[in-house]
């Protein structure tokens, strides 16, 4: 099962190379996509901390093989989960990601086209607090704590998207189990308090996500 992500990445790289090759031969239809979504963590322990999160993704779409039905999308994005600790302090779990998505125009019903997709991303994960000074609007100053946990890792996602004209809705499930390192100072503090804390720990950040997006021709 561990080779599945590698195969996904290889397929993605191959398709991206294919698109490059094609672009040398003919002008590719290039589109631009922007999507925003809500995320729900699958594991109960982490979902109790972060009941929900949001995501943003942006990328250029290349319609390639099979009369443009195969679509490749290198993309960048961010995913943030929030946990309101008190009136001024919110804990964040932030994932900055770079990766790609492959989708295929499989069938349509009326004016709605259905695209199954697979995606893979490399993620930079950070967990920290954001503290507001209590101001509002433009006067509000937000300061960020040092990272409590941080790490990196690959994620894979499968799902389906339904496109109506330039708008689409995506429903997907992402598998992401990064090993996060804890800040050394926390380990030292725990030790002084009589607790033994490992330097790193794997987390289950698998998510179910629902996004809405827009496709724009360039």
């Amino acid at each position: 099962m561990r080779c599945a992500p590698k195969i996904g990445w290889l397929a993605l790289v191959w398709l991206l190379l294919l698109s490059t090759e094609l672009s040398a031969q003919e002008r590719l239809p290039v589109l631009f996509e922007l999507e925003a979504g809500i995320e729900r963590l699958d594991a109960g322990a982490v979902r109790a901390v972060f009941p929900a999160g949001g995501s943003l993704k942006i990328g250029a779409v290349f319609a390639v093989a099979d009369q443009g039905r195969l679509r490749l999308r290198p993309n960048a994005g961010v995913k943030v989960f929030f946990n309101e600790l008190d009136e001024w302090t919110t804990e964040h779990l932030r994932l900055i990601r770079l990766g790609g998505q492959v989708s295929y125009d499989l069938f349509f019903v009326g004016q709605t086209t259905f695209f199954p997709y697979v995606a893979a991303d490399f993620n930079w994960v950070a967990n920290y607090d954001a503290e507001s000074d209590g101001g509002s609007g433009d006067d509000e100053q937000i300061s960020f704590s040092e990272h409590y946990l941080r790490g990196t890792g690959f994620s894979q996602e499968v799902g389906v998207r339904a496109q109506y004209r330039e708008f689409y809705v995506k429903l997907g499930y992402e598998i992401f189990n990064p090993r996060l390192k804890i800040r050394s100072a926390i380990v030292e503090e725990d030790l002084a308090a009589g607790y033994r804390t490992p330097r790193s720990h794997p987390f289950n950040f698998n998510t179910l996500n629902l996004s809405i997006g827009v496709t724009v021709g360039l």
Partner: protein, 360 residues
């Protein structure tokens, strides 16, 4: 393109909705951490204190607290605690050869109790130790009991006689319930006594009228029946003896002055160990010293010493007593802490410590 303009608004709406998410705890709460010591050890140190402990085998630690005895075979992952009433904090205690001896003052004399079951039950020595003629001279207090094999006990005592006093050694045989005064020295202040075996022992005392810091070393080779002065040591305050073997011994005081003898106490060489020590010889080569701020170790019978960086899980190894089961395995403990080493003091593990969660 018109619809694209609506996306930031949708996003903002989404973020605004999510920002109100209130979870339970923080992600760090999900991060694993385990208590270094078993919180159940609170039974030993909460409103209680460790009085004595020893490493009885590789993993078995047996000890006594003021409120009962304890035993563990798995380094306090689990342990048995048997509550019982401690005879009291007064007086002096001695441990060895499976016997605990407790001597407390009673009038001008003292009461000697002993336990052979780790303090669960106590027996009172019923025989007469101090003769009536001796008692008339003044009150006698026990300074140190030394427990030999065969339930033989030597009691180093001090007797106040008017402005002066004398040092005494009693030999008590618990088996035959007999006792005898085997040595006394007028105008002397006793410091310490120790034996290498049932026959050979050393005793330190000072003359009341003598020069401050002078300590007289006496030796017996007949189980304490006769004593002969073998040396006078200078510059020591209330010194102690640590017997390494029949020929080697260490004499030291809490200020850090120490001497080593390799000829049965006849001659001495100054050695540097550290302040506030208590020494235990595990073999003829390996000797440990518990210092005010850590430990020192000698592997040549006490001639040269190496200070150990004794730390366990970020805590410095400190205590007021130690017990080494072998050259490599031993414990250091205090009233509220206990550490163990398996590699001759290089690495330590904390088994009992007054962390906050232990008291919660």
């Amino acid at each position: 393109m018109k619809c694209t303009n609506q996306m930031p608004w949708l996003t903002l709406l989404l973020v605004a909705a999510l920002a109100g998410c209130k979870g339970e705890g923080t992600l760090l709460d999900v991060y694993p951490m385990e208590p270094i010591v078993n919180p159940e050890v609170r039974a030993l140190i909460k409103d209680n204190r460790i009085v004595h402990a020893r490493l009885a085998s590789r993993n078995q630690i047996i000890g006594i607290t003021e409120k009962g005895g304890f035993a563990t075979a798995d380094r306090f992952k689990s342990f048995a605690f048997e509550p019982y009433t401690w005879p009291g904090g007064q007086g002096v205690m001695g441990f060895g050869n499976g016997i605990i001896v407790h001597a407390t003052a009673e009038g001008a004399s003292f009461v000697l109790r002993y336990s052979v079951d780790n303090g669960a039950t106590w027996l009172r020595y019923g025989g007469t130790i101090i003769g009536e003629d001796d008692l008339r001279q003044g009150a006698v207090q026990v300074l140190k009991p030394v427990i030999g094999v065969g339930r033989l006990i030597w009691l180093l005592c001090q007797q106040d006689i008017g402005q002066g006093g004398r040092a005494l050694v009693y030999r008590v045989d618990l088996e035959s319930r007999s006792a005898m005064l085997c040595w006394s020295k007028a105008d002397a202040v006793a410091s310490d006594i120790d034996f290498s075996d049932a026959e050979t022992g050393w005793l330190l005392c000072a003359d009341r009228a003598g020069r401050a810091g002078d300590a007289r070393m006496l030796k017996t080779t007949d189980g304490g029946l006769t004593w002969a002065e073998v040396a006078v040591l200078e510059g020591l305050t209330d010194p102690s003896i640590a017997v390494v073997d029949a020929n080697q011994l260490l004499v030291y005081d809490r200020a850090g002055y120490a001497f080593h003898s390799a000829d049965g106490g006849l001659s001495y060489t100054p050695v540097t160990i550290g302040e506030g020590m208590a020494c235990q010889a595990v073999s003829a080569q390996t000797v440990y010293a518990l210092l005010a701020d850590g430990l020192a170790k000698s592997t040549d019978g006490g001639r040269t010493w190496l200070t150990l960086h004794a730390e366990a899980s970020g805590v410095y190894v400190t205590g007021n007593a130690m017990h080494f089961y072998s050259e490599r395995q031993g414990i250091v403990y205090g009233s509220d802490r206990l550490f163990v080493t398996d590699d001759g003091g290089e690495n330590w593990e904390v088994l009992v410590y007054p962390y906050d969660y232990v008291f919660e």
